[in-house]
């Protein structure tokens, strides 16, 4: 996609200094700062991380080669497997709910006549996306507290028997944390899908109306297929957010109660910095990256396959 055809040399003197590829050396010079920062602080740490993952090392003493031992631990330790499992539960809350809610809200905003209300809605819905995730964690910890708003609303609705400290209850902590993610990501989904709907050819809708299509038929036959690309992007972004979530969980539950909200990023942090098992933490980091790529690639494929 970068390979725009090289313009023809009118003079026929390939490689002349006035040619389209002039200053190739200088071009590379311009790339140098970006590549330097990227290689130095992304690629190199990644290579070092792979190296660490083959060793048993406490961060200060001598490291012992253990081959794939750390990877074997990641895939057999029930605690670490549980963390991966929790990350996949969070996928539902970070991906399915926001994209679903985004579709509904985008359709609703689209049908608004007044531009002012539509614009205000977009701004408000987007707010959670802007604030630090750690602040979202703090805000919601308070919402979920024993004396917090969620329980108060339940009591007011006559559902007081449901009230509980949501984040410290084994059964509810994970979905409660997941809903914080839904809250953060729904606005992004709504706004992106709204832009997508705006690009769909209006005449398709008019044709559907003439054919007597109802709201649902219209949604499934025109809107949804037309948003394929946007949905793929959102699923990709929110999948990465779900699988590598750290900030929200660190500030709201720290992985507890027990291990009920433990996720890979929290495990990596604990194993690496509290338990000083650098090799195992590094291996988990590599596994996390592979997990993200393995989940994201098929989505990208699907989106590409639908390209016309």
């Amino acid at each position: 996609m970068t390979g725009a055809p090289a313009p023809l040399h009118r003079s026929g003197r390939a490689g002349s200094p006035k040619g389209p590829r002039r200053g190739a050396a200088r071009g590379w010079l311009l790339l140098l700062p970006a590549l330097g920062a990227y290689v130095g602080f992304v690629v190199w740490p990644l290579i070092v991380g792979v190296q660490y993952s083959f060793y048993d090392w406490n961060g200060v003493g001598t490291a012992t080669w253990v081959g794939l031992g750390n990877y074997a631990t990641v895939f057999t330790d029930p605690e670490l497997l549980g963390a991966i499992g929790n990350a996949f539960v969070l996928l539902v809350f970070f991906t399915v709910i926001p994209v679903g809610a985004g579709l509904v809200l985008a359709t609703l905003i689209r049908s608004l006549r007044s531009g002012g209300f539509a614009r205000a809605s977009q701004t408000i819905l987007f707010l959670p996306q802007v604030i630090p995730l750690a602040a979202a964690g703090i805000a919601w910890s308070w919402m979920y507290a024993q004396t917090g708003a969620v329980n108060e609303i339940l009591r007011a609705a006559g559902l007081g028997w449901l009230a509980r400290p949501w984040l410290s209850d084994y059964g509810t902590a994970l979905p409660a944390v997941g809903l914080i993610g839904s809250w953060v990501l729904t606005g992004l989904c709504t706004v992106l899908l709204l832009t997508g709907i705006g690009k769909i050819d209006r005449s398709l809708y008019e044709a559907a109306r003439i054919d007597g299509a109802g709201w649902w038929r219209e949604f499934f036959a025109i809107t949804l297929p037309g948003l394929r690309q946007e949905i793929a992007v959102l699923v990709t972004l929110s999948m990465i957010a779900a699988l590598s979530s750290f900030d929200i969980i660190y500030t709201s539950t720290q992985g507890g109660p027990g291990r009920s909200t433990l996720v890979p990023a929290i495990s990596i942090y604990r194993i690496g910095f509290t338990q000083s098992d650098v090799g195992l933490a590094s291996a988990f980091g590599i596994v996390l990256m592979i997990l993200v790529v393995a989940c994201v690639l098929p989505v990208q494929r699907l989106a590409r396959a639908g390209d016309r």
């Binding site: 190739a24 790339l31 750690a134 992106l192 590094s282 996390l288």
Partner: protein, 274 residues
Amino acid sequence: MNTSRTETLTGRVLLVLALVLTLLPLLNMVSAALQPADVNPTGLAWPTDPQWGNFAAAFETGHVGKLMGSSLLIVAGVVPAALLAATLAGYALGSLRVRGGGAVLVFLVLGLAIPFESLIIPLYYQAQTLGTLNTRWAVILPLIGLFMPFGVFWMRAHFVNVPRELSEAARVDGAGLWQEFRRIQLPLALPAVSALAILYFLWTWNQFLLPVVLIDNPLDRTAAGALTFFQGQYSLSIPLLNAGALIVITPVIIVFLIFQRQFVKALLSGAVKS
């Protein structure tokens, strides 16, 4: 449109409900922040006697002034450098189309799929080796690298769409590469650069993992990273914790409200193109 009136009404009610749900946690923070600091506050109730002094107390005892200053230092270290590097690289890839640029782009974009969490362990030991651990450089340098894939991608997308005729015309007029970049390309790129600047600002300000891991002293962290400090300090006072958190998120919300068009555009088109 022939949508029935009930349908429209249901739609509006749903939308308003979503807006309330979105705002509720934020408003709830405000109402908690205004309750007496030494009392365990309750849910949604607006305090009868709002304690506006809580904000001052949180600002003072939470060293918020210092924290904000620290965040600004980190932002000042990350944003200009990352912008400059990304713009130059985007120009080289998008406008000059240097040989091998396609491969460089693919190499960089692969970085978009690497979660920060996967790199945090090696970054810690790298900072130790470089002697930057527990200084702001431990966060600044890696962030410049970590922000590079998106930035180069974003700037290249801009430069690729600038008509070739423009730079050809400049060349005919005898402008050198540097002059062409300074006088013609850069002014045209300003909207793209400023959108990227806003994103970089917010991502740096909100960065949590790196400062928490790499900087021991909370007062040297980013504002978001410093929220853990509030949590530790105010673990017993929910009102002060909320007041502190509100102060930290205020600048982000202001920046967002002022620049929301550019911000959303940058985020969305960047996202769609990737």
